[in-house]
Symmetry: C2
Subunit: 217 residues, 2 copies
Protein backbone atom coordinates (compact mmCIF):
# COMPACT_ATOMS: atom_id res chain seq x y z
CA UNK A 1 0.00 0.00 0.00
CA UNK A 2 1.59 3.19 -1.23
CA UNK A 3 0.38 6.69 -0.43
CA UNK A 4 3.48 8.42 -1.74
CA UNK A 5 4.46 9.61 1.73
CA UNK A 6 7.77 8.84 3.41
CA UNK A 7 6.51 5.86 5.42
CA UNK A 8 4.84 3.88 2.65
CA UNK A 9 7.71 4.69 0.27
CA UNK A 10 10.16 3.26 2.79
CA UNK A 11 7.93 0.23 3.14
CA UNK A 12 7.98 -0.37 -0.62
CA UNK A 13 11.77 0.08 -0.71
CA UNK A 14 12.13 -2.50 2.04
CA UNK A 15 9.81 -5.01 0.36
CA UNK A 16 11.83 -4.67 -2.85
CA UNK A 17 15.10 -5.11 -0.94
CA UNK A 18 13.65 -8.28 0.60
CA UNK A 19 13.09 -9.60 -2.92
CA UNK A 20 9.31 -9.26 -3.25
CA UNK A 21 7.61 -8.51 -6.55
CA UNK A 22 5.57 -5.48 -5.59
CA UNK A 23 2.07 -4.52 -6.72
CA UNK A 24 1.59 -0.98 -5.45
CA UNK A 25 -1.90 0.12 -4.44
CA UNK A 26 -2.93 3.74 -3.94
CA UNK A 27 -6.33 5.25 -3.25
CA UNK A 28 -8.13 8.15 -4.80
CA UNK A 29 -10.51 8.63 -1.89
CA UNK A 30 -11.67 12.20 -2.30
CA UNK A 31 -8.63 13.64 -0.55
CA UNK A 32 -8.23 17.40 -0.84
CA UNK A 33 -5.26 17.23 -3.20
CA UNK A 34 -3.69 14.98 -5.84
CA UNK A 35 -0.01 15.58 -5.07
CA UNK A 36 0.05 12.45 -2.93
CA UNK A 37 -1.09 10.28 -5.87
CA UNK A 38 1.48 11.88 -8.18
CA UNK A 39 4.17 11.10 -5.61
CA UNK A 40 2.95 7.50 -5.34
CA UNK A 41 3.25 7.05 -9.11
CA UNK A 42 6.80 8.44 -9.08
CA UNK A 43 7.85 6.19 -6.19
CA UNK A 44 6.24 3.09 -7.71
CA UNK A 45 8.14 3.71 -10.95
CA UNK A 46 11.38 4.47 -9.10
CA UNK A 47 11.31 1.16 -7.24
CA UNK A 48 10.17 -0.90 -10.21
CA UNK A 49 6.75 -1.97 -8.96
CA UNK A 50 5.30 -4.68 -11.20
CA UNK A 51 2.12 -2.64 -11.31
CA UNK A 52 0.68 0.49 -9.70
CA UNK A 53 -3.09 0.57 -9.26
CA UNK A 54 -5.06 3.58 -8.06
CA UNK A 55 -8.39 2.41 -6.63
CA UNK A 56 -11.09 5.05 -6.72
CA UNK A 57 -13.33 4.98 -3.66
CA UNK A 58 -15.76 7.68 -2.61
CA UNK A 59 -14.86 8.11 1.06
CA UNK A 60 -15.77 11.79 0.81
CA UNK A 61 -19.43 10.72 0.65
CA UNK A 62 -19.20 9.83 4.34
CA UNK A 63 -17.57 13.10 5.45
CA UNK A 64 -16.26 13.37 8.98
CA UNK A 65 -12.58 14.17 8.35
CA UNK A 66 -10.45 17.22 7.63
CA UNK A 67 -8.66 15.16 4.95
CA UNK A 68 -11.81 14.65 2.87
CA UNK A 69 -14.38 17.23 4.03
CA UNK A 70 -14.33 21.01 4.14
CA UNK A 71 -12.85 21.19 7.65
CA UNK A 72 -9.64 23.12 8.41
CA UNK A 73 -6.47 21.03 8.82
CA UNK A 74 -4.97 21.78 12.29
CA UNK A 75 -1.67 23.67 12.17
CA UNK A 76 1.38 24.19 14.38
CA UNK A 77 0.39 21.69 17.04
CA UNK A 78 2.96 20.46 19.53
CA UNK A 79 3.69 16.73 19.62
CA UNK A 80 1.96 16.70 23.03
CA UNK A 81 -1.18 18.12 21.44
CA UNK A 82 -0.93 15.58 18.61
CA UNK A 83 -0.75 12.79 21.16
CA UNK A 84 -4.10 13.69 22.72
CA UNK A 85 -7.12 11.90 21.33
CA UNK A 86 -8.05 11.12 17.76
CA UNK A 87 -7.31 14.08 15.45
CA UNK A 88 -9.77 15.61 12.99
CA UNK A 89 -7.52 14.43 10.14
CA UNK A 90 -8.47 10.85 11.03
CA UNK A 91 -10.57 9.43 8.19
CA UNK A 92 -13.20 7.03 9.56
CA UNK A 93 -12.15 3.41 9.09
CA UNK A 94 -9.63 4.42 6.44
CA UNK A 95 -7.00 1.77 7.02
CA UNK A 96 -9.73 -0.86 7.37
CA UNK A 97 -11.10 0.08 3.96
CA UNK A 98 -7.63 0.32 2.40
CA UNK A 99 -6.54 -3.04 3.81
CA UNK A 100 -9.76 -4.60 2.51
CA UNK A 101 -8.96 -3.51 -1.04
CA UNK A 102 -5.39 -4.77 -0.60
CA UNK A 103 -6.84 -8.07 0.62
CA UNK A 104 -9.06 -8.34 -2.47
CA UNK A 105 -6.17 -7.63 -4.81
CA UNK A 106 -3.86 -10.00 -2.93
CA UNK A 107 -6.46 -12.72 -3.30
CA UNK A 108 -6.72 -12.19 -7.05
CA UNK A 109 -2.91 -12.07 -7.40
CA UNK A 110 -2.58 -15.13 -5.13
CA UNK A 111 -0.22 -13.09 -2.99
CA UNK A 112 0.18 -13.90 0.69
CA UNK A 113 1.96 -10.70 1.72
CA UNK A 114 0.60 -7.20 2.30
CA UNK A 115 2.97 -4.39 3.32
CA UNK A 116 1.56 -1.34 5.11
CA UNK A 117 3.63 1.51 6.53
CA UNK A 118 1.65 2.11 9.71
CA UNK A 119 3.49 3.40 12.73
CA UNK A 120 2.36 3.13 16.33
CA UNK A 121 4.74 5.67 17.89
CA UNK A 122 4.29 8.88 15.94
CA UNK A 123 0.85 7.85 14.80
CA UNK A 124 -0.93 11.02 15.93
CA UNK A 125 -3.62 9.12 17.75
CA UNK A 126 -5.06 7.11 14.83
CA UNK A 127 -6.80 4.01 16.20
CA UNK A 128 -6.12 1.99 13.06
CA UNK A 129 -2.35 2.25 13.40
CA UNK A 130 -2.10 0.27 16.62
CA UNK A 131 -0.48 -3.20 16.77
CA UNK A 132 -3.58 -4.82 18.31
CA UNK A 133 -5.65 -3.50 15.43
CA UNK A 134 -3.28 -4.95 12.80
CA UNK A 135 -3.22 -8.32 14.57
CA UNK A 136 -7.03 -8.42 14.67
CA UNK A 137 -7.18 -7.46 11.01
CA UNK A 138 -4.78 -10.23 9.99
CA UNK A 139 -6.79 -12.78 11.94
CA UNK A 140 -10.02 -11.65 10.26
CA UNK A 141 -8.38 -11.58 6.81
CA UNK A 142 -7.33 -15.21 7.14
CA UNK A 143 -10.96 -16.16 7.68
CA UNK A 144 -12.29 -13.89 4.93
CA UNK A 145 -10.86 -15.36 1.79
CA UNK A 146 -10.91 -18.32 -0.53
CA UNK A 147 -7.44 -19.25 0.71
CA UNK A 148 -8.78 -19.12 4.26
CA UNK A 149 -11.47 -21.69 3.45
CA UNK A 150 -9.31 -23.90 1.31
CA UNK A 151 -6.32 -23.60 3.65
CA UNK A 152 -3.96 -22.80 0.76
CA UNK A 153 -2.01 -19.85 2.09
CA UNK A 154 -1.76 -17.82 5.24
CA UNK A 155 -1.90 -14.09 4.67
CA UNK A 156 0.70 -11.99 6.47
CA UNK A 157 0.32 -8.25 7.02
CA UNK A 158 3.83 -6.84 7.21
CA UNK A 159 4.25 -3.69 9.30
CA UNK A 160 8.01 -3.12 9.33
CA UNK A 161 7.69 0.48 10.57
CA UNK A 162 5.27 -0.26 13.37
CA UNK A 163 7.66 0.26 16.26
CA UNK A 164 10.05 2.76 14.67
CA UNK A 165 10.29 6.43 15.63
CA UNK A 166 10.03 8.92 12.76
CA UNK A 167 13.80 9.40 13.08
CA UNK A 168 14.21 5.62 12.81
CA UNK A 169 12.10 5.61 9.65
CA UNK A 170 14.19 8.42 8.15
CA UNK A 171 17.40 6.48 8.85
CA UNK A 172 15.93 3.30 7.36
CA UNK A 173 14.75 5.27 4.34
CA UNK A 174 18.27 6.59 3.74
CA UNK A 175 19.70 3.09 4.13
CA UNK A 176 17.24 1.92 1.45
CA UNK A 177 18.02 4.91 -0.78
CA UNK A 178 14.50 6.29 -0.79
CA UNK A 179 14.52 9.47 -2.89
CA UNK A 180 13.16 11.89 -0.29
CA UNK A 181 12.45 14.57 -2.87
CA UNK A 182 9.96 12.32 -4.70
CA UNK A 183 7.84 11.69 -1.59
CA UNK A 184 4.96 13.85 -0.35
CA UNK A 185 3.80 14.05 3.28
CA UNK A 186 1.84 17.31 3.71
CA UNK A 187 -1.91 17.22 4.48
CA UNK A 188 -2.48 20.73 3.14
CA UNK A 189 -0.02 21.67 0.36
CA UNK A 190 -0.03 24.91 -1.61
CA UNK A 191 -1.38 25.08 -5.17
CA UNK A 192 2.06 24.09 -6.50
CA UNK A 193 2.28 21.09 -4.16
CA UNK A 194 4.73 22.72 -1.75
CA UNK A 195 4.32 21.43 1.84
CA UNK A 196 2.67 23.86 4.29
CA UNK A 197 5.25 23.11 6.98
CA UNK A 198 2.69 23.42 9.78
CA UNK A 199 0.29 20.46 9.65
CA UNK A 200 0.88 17.36 11.81
CA UNK A 201 2.38 15.45 8.88
CA UNK A 202 4.87 18.23 8.07
CA UNK A 203 5.81 18.71 11.73
CA UNK A 204 6.34 14.99 12.34
CA UNK A 205 8.42 14.70 9.18
CA UNK A 206 10.62 17.68 10.13
CA UNK A 207 11.08 16.32 13.67
CA UNK A 208 12.08 12.95 12.25
CA UNK A 209 14.72 14.37 9.94
CA UNK A 210 16.08 16.67 12.66
CA UNK A 211 16.40 13.85 15.17
CA UNK A 212 18.00 11.60 12.54
CA UNK A 213 20.45 14.38 11.64
CA UNK A 214 19.59 14.03 7.96
CA UNK A 215 18.69 16.78 5.54
CA UNK A 216 15.21 16.58 3.94
CA UNK A 217 15.62 17.54 0.30
CA UNK B 1 -26.28 -3.19 4.19
CA UNK B 2 -28.87 -3.59 1.47
CA UNK B 3 -28.26 -5.32 -1.85
CA UNK B 4 -31.92 -5.44 -2.81
CA UNK B 5 -32.00 -9.23 -2.57
CA UNK B 6 -34.35 -11.20 -0.36
CA UNK B 7 -31.90 -11.67 2.52
CA UNK B 8 -30.79 -8.06 2.98
CA UNK B 9 -34.37 -6.84 2.48
CA UNK B 10 -35.52 -9.15 5.26
CA UNK B 11 -32.66 -7.87 7.41
CA UNK B 12 -33.78 -4.25 6.89
CA UNK B 13 -37.39 -5.17 7.64
CA UNK B 14 -36.29 -6.81 10.89
CA UNK B 15 -34.13 -3.86 11.95
CA UNK B 16 -37.07 -1.53 11.36
CA UNK B 17 -39.39 -3.83 13.32
CA UNK B 18 -36.87 -3.74 16.19
CA UNK B 19 -37.16 0.06 16.22
CA UNK B 20 -33.86 1.05 14.60
CA UNK B 21 -33.50 4.16 12.43
CA UNK B 22 -31.98 2.65 9.32
CA UNK B 23 -29.33 4.06 7.02
CA UNK B 24 -29.26 1.75 4.03
CA UNK B 25 -25.95 1.20 2.23
CA UNK B 26 -25.66 -0.34 -1.23
CA UNK B 27 -22.65 -0.76 -3.47
CA UNK B 28 -22.11 -0.02 -7.10
CA UNK B 29 -19.10 -2.29 -7.46
CA UNK B 30 -18.96 -2.94 -11.16
CA UNK B 31 -21.53 -5.73 -11.00
CA UNK B 32 -22.81 -6.91 -14.35
CA UNK B 33 -26.26 -5.38 -13.97
CA UNK B 34 -28.03 -2.50 -12.19
CA UNK B 35 -31.33 -4.24 -11.35
CA UNK B 36 -30.02 -5.07 -7.89
CA UNK B 37 -29.41 -1.37 -7.12
CA UNK B 38 -32.86 -0.43 -8.41
CA UNK B 39 -34.36 -3.08 -6.13
CA UNK B 40 -32.35 -1.75 -3.18
CA UNK B 41 -33.72 1.76 -3.76
CA UNK B 42 -37.31 0.46 -3.88
CA UNK B 43 -36.86 -1.58 -0.71
CA UNK B 44 -35.16 1.29 1.17
CA UNK B 45 -38.08 3.57 0.28
CA UNK B 46 -40.66 0.90 1.14
CA UNK B 47 -39.27 0.43 4.64
CA UNK B 48 -38.70 4.14 5.29
CA UNK B 49 -34.91 4.13 5.55
CA UNK B 50 -33.66 7.47 6.91
CA UNK B 51 -31.22 7.52 4.02
CA UNK B 52 -30.07 5.26 1.20
CA UNK B 53 -26.49 5.66 0.06
CA UNK B 54 -24.95 3.92 -2.94
CA UNK B 55 -21.17 3.80 -2.51
CA UNK B 56 -19.30 3.52 -5.79
CA UNK B 57 -16.26 1.25 -5.55
CA UNK B 58 -14.27 -0.12 -8.44
CA UNK B 59 -14.03 -3.80 -7.51
CA UNK B 60 -14.09 -4.70 -11.20
CA UNK B 61 -10.52 -3.35 -11.42
CA UNK B 62 -9.38 -6.43 -9.50
CA UNK B 63 -11.27 -8.97 -11.61
CA UNK B 64 -11.42 -12.55 -10.45
CA UNK B 65 -15.19 -13.08 -10.20
CA UNK B 66 -18.06 -14.01 -12.50
CA UNK B 67 -20.10 -11.24 -10.83
CA UNK B 68 -17.74 -8.47 -11.97
CA UNK B 69 -15.58 -9.87 -14.77
CA UNK B 70 -16.39 -11.38 -18.14
CA UNK B 71 -16.71 -14.93 -16.84
CA UNK B 72 -19.85 -17.02 -17.34
CA UNK B 73 -22.20 -17.34 -14.34
CA UNK B 74 -22.65 -21.07 -13.57
CA UNK B 75 -26.15 -22.40 -14.29
CA UNK B 76 -28.38 -25.26 -13.14
CA UNK B 77 -26.07 -26.55 -10.42
CA UNK B 78 -27.40 -28.93 -7.79
CA UNK B 79 -27.21 -27.81 -4.15
CA UNK B 80 -24.54 -30.50 -3.70
CA UNK B 81 -22.45 -28.88 -6.43
CA UNK B 82 -23.01 -25.45 -4.88
CA UNK B 83 -21.76 -26.77 -1.56
CA UNK B 84 -18.38 -27.80 -2.99
CA UNK B 85 -15.64 -25.20 -2.69
CA UNK B 86 -15.74 -21.49 -3.31
CA UNK B 87 -17.79 -20.65 -6.44
CA UNK B 88 -16.65 -18.43 -9.29
CA UNK B 89 -19.37 -15.93 -8.32
CA UNK B 90 -17.42 -15.23 -5.12
CA UNK B 91 -16.05 -11.68 -5.32
CA UNK B 92 -12.65 -11.46 -3.59
CA UNK B 93 -12.96 -9.95 -0.11
CA UNK B 94 -16.36 -8.48 -1.00
CA UNK B 95 -18.00 -8.63 2.41
CA UNK B 96 -14.80 -7.39 4.02
CA UNK B 97 -14.83 -4.34 1.76
CA UNK B 98 -18.58 -3.79 2.19
CA UNK B 99 -18.38 -4.08 5.98
CA UNK B 100 -15.48 -1.63 6.01
CA UNK B 101 -17.58 1.00 4.27
CA UNK B 102 -20.45 0.27 6.65
CA UNK B 103 -18.01 0.69 9.52
CA UNK B 104 -16.87 4.08 8.19
CA UNK B 105 -20.43 5.31 7.79
CA UNK B 106 -21.43 3.95 11.20
CA UNK B 107 -18.55 5.85 12.75
CA UNK B 108 -19.60 9.11 11.10
CA UNK B 109 -23.25 8.54 12.09
CA UNK B 110 -22.17 7.51 15.61
CA UNK B 111 -24.13 4.31 15.12
CA UNK B 112 -23.15 1.19 17.03
CA UNK B 113 -25.18 -1.29 14.98
CA UNK B 114 -24.54 -2.79 11.56
CA UNK B 115 -27.02 -5.26 10.07
CA UNK B 116 -25.84 -7.68 7.39
CA UNK B 117 -27.92 -10.44 5.87
CA UNK B 118 -25.24 -13.10 5.59
CA UNK B 119 -26.26 -16.70 5.86
CA UNK B 120 -24.03 -19.62 6.77
CA UNK B 121 -26.29 -22.47 5.68
CA UNK B 122 -27.21 -21.75 2.07
CA UNK B 123 -24.16 -19.62 1.58
CA UNK B 124 -22.89 -21.39 -1.53
CA UNK B 125 -19.38 -21.72 -0.10
CA UNK B 126 -18.53 -18.05 0.40
CA UNK B 127 -15.80 -17.79 3.05
CA UNK B 128 -16.98 -14.36 4.20
CA UNK B 129 -20.41 -15.60 5.25
CA UNK B 130 -19.17 -17.85 8.05
CA UNK B 131 -19.87 -17.10 11.75
CA UNK B 132 -16.16 -17.21 12.68
CA UNK B 133 -15.46 -14.62 10.01
CA UNK B 134 -18.16 -12.25 11.31
CA UNK B 135 -16.89 -12.63 14.88
CA UNK B 136 -13.32 -11.84 13.81
CA UNK B 137 -14.56 -8.84 11.84
CA UNK B 138 -16.47 -7.45 14.81
CA UNK B 139 -13.44 -7.85 17.04
CA UNK B 140 -11.24 -6.02 14.53
CA UNK B 141 -13.85 -3.28 14.01
CA UNK B 142 -13.91 -2.51 17.70
CA UNK B 143 -10.17 -1.84 17.58
CA UNK B 144 -10.32 0.12 14.31
CA UNK B 145 -12.31 3.18 15.20
CA UNK B 146 -12.33 6.37 17.20
CA UNK B 147 -14.94 4.83 19.49
CA UNK B 148 -12.62 1.88 19.97
CA UNK B 149 -9.82 4.12 21.22
CA UNK B 150 -12.00 6.39 23.29
CA UNK B 151 -14.07 3.51 24.64
CA UNK B 152 -17.35 5.27 23.81
CA UNK B 153 -19.38 2.57 22.15
CA UNK B 154 -19.07 -1.06 21.28
CA UNK B 155 -19.95 -1.88 17.70
CA UNK B 156 -22.26 -4.83 17.13
CA UNK B 157 -22.56 -6.62 13.79
CA UNK B 158 -26.06 -8.08 13.67
CA UNK B 159 -26.47 -11.21 11.54
CA UNK B 160 -30.06 -12.26 12.22
CA UNK B 161 -30.18 -14.62 9.21
CA UNK B 162 -26.88 -16.35 9.92
CA UNK B 163 -28.31 -19.69 11.05
CA UNK B 164 -31.57 -19.70 9.07
CA UNK B 165 -32.29 -21.93 6.11
CA UNK B 166 -33.50 -20.21 2.95
CA UNK B 167 -36.99 -21.49 3.80
CA UNK B 168 -36.63 -19.96 7.26
CA UNK B 169 -35.67 -16.62 5.70
CA UNK B 170 -38.70 -16.76 3.39
CA UNK B 171 -40.99 -17.40 6.37
CA UNK B 172 -39.40 -14.56 8.35
CA UNK B 173 -39.72 -12.28 5.33
CA UNK B 174 -43.45 -13.02 5.05
CA UNK B 175 -43.87 -12.40 8.79
CA UNK B 176 -42.18 -9.01 8.32
CA UNK B 177 -44.28 -8.25 5.23
CA UNK B 178 -41.32 -7.97 2.85
CA UNK B 179 -42.71 -7.22 -0.62
CA UNK B 180 -41.17 -10.16 -2.48
CA UNK B 181 -41.91 -8.65 -5.89
CA UNK B 182 -39.69 -5.64 -5.15
CA UNK B 183 -36.62 -7.74 -4.36
CA UNK B 184 -34.05 -9.01 -6.86
CA UNK B 185 -31.87 -12.11 -6.38
CA UNK B 186 -30.64 -13.23 -9.81
CA UNK B 187 -26.93 -13.06 -10.71
CA UNK B 188 -27.61 -12.99 -14.44
CA UNK B 189 -30.96 -11.37 -15.31
CA UNK B 190 -32.28 -10.76 -18.83
CA UNK B 191 -32.20 -7.30 -20.41
CA UNK B 192 -35.57 -6.50 -18.82
CA UNK B 193 -34.36 -7.58 -15.36
CA UNK B 194 -36.23 -10.90 -15.38
CA UNK B 195 -34.45 -13.60 -13.32
CA UNK B 196 -32.68 -16.33 -15.32
CA UNK B 197 -34.04 -19.05 -13.05
CA UNK B 198 -30.88 -21.13 -13.34
CA UNK B 199 -28.05 -19.40 -11.45
CA UNK B 200 -27.22 -20.37 -7.85
CA UNK B 201 -29.11 -17.35 -6.50
CA UNK B 202 -32.28 -18.18 -8.45
CA UNK B 203 -32.10 -21.87 -7.54
CA UNK B 204 -31.58 -21.19 -3.83
CA UNK B 205 -34.43 -18.69 -3.83
CA UNK B 206 -36.80 -21.13 -5.55
CA UNK B 207 -35.82 -23.94 -3.17
CA UNK B 208 -36.45 -21.64 -0.19
CA UNK B 209 -39.94 -20.65 -1.32
CA UNK B 210 -40.82 -24.25 -2.19
CA UNK B 211 -39.70 -25.57 1.19
CA UNK B 212 -41.52 -22.73 2.96
CA UNK B 213 -44.68 -23.49 0.96
CA UNK B 214 -44.96 -19.83 -0.05
CA UNK B 215 -45.51 -18.43 -3.52
CA UNK B 216 -42.76 -16.14 -4.87
CA UNK B 217 -44.50 -13.29 -6.66
Amino acid sequence: MLSGGLDSSTCLALARRLGFDCFALSFDYGQRHRFELDAAARIAAHFGAARHMVAKIGLDAFGGSALTADIAVPKSRSTAEMGQGVPITYVPARNTIFLSFALAWAEVLESSDIFIGVNALDYSGYPDCRPEYIEAYERMANLATRAGVEGITRLKIHTPLLQLSKAGIVKLARELEVPFALTHSCYDPGPDGAPCGECDACLLRRKGFEEAGIEDR
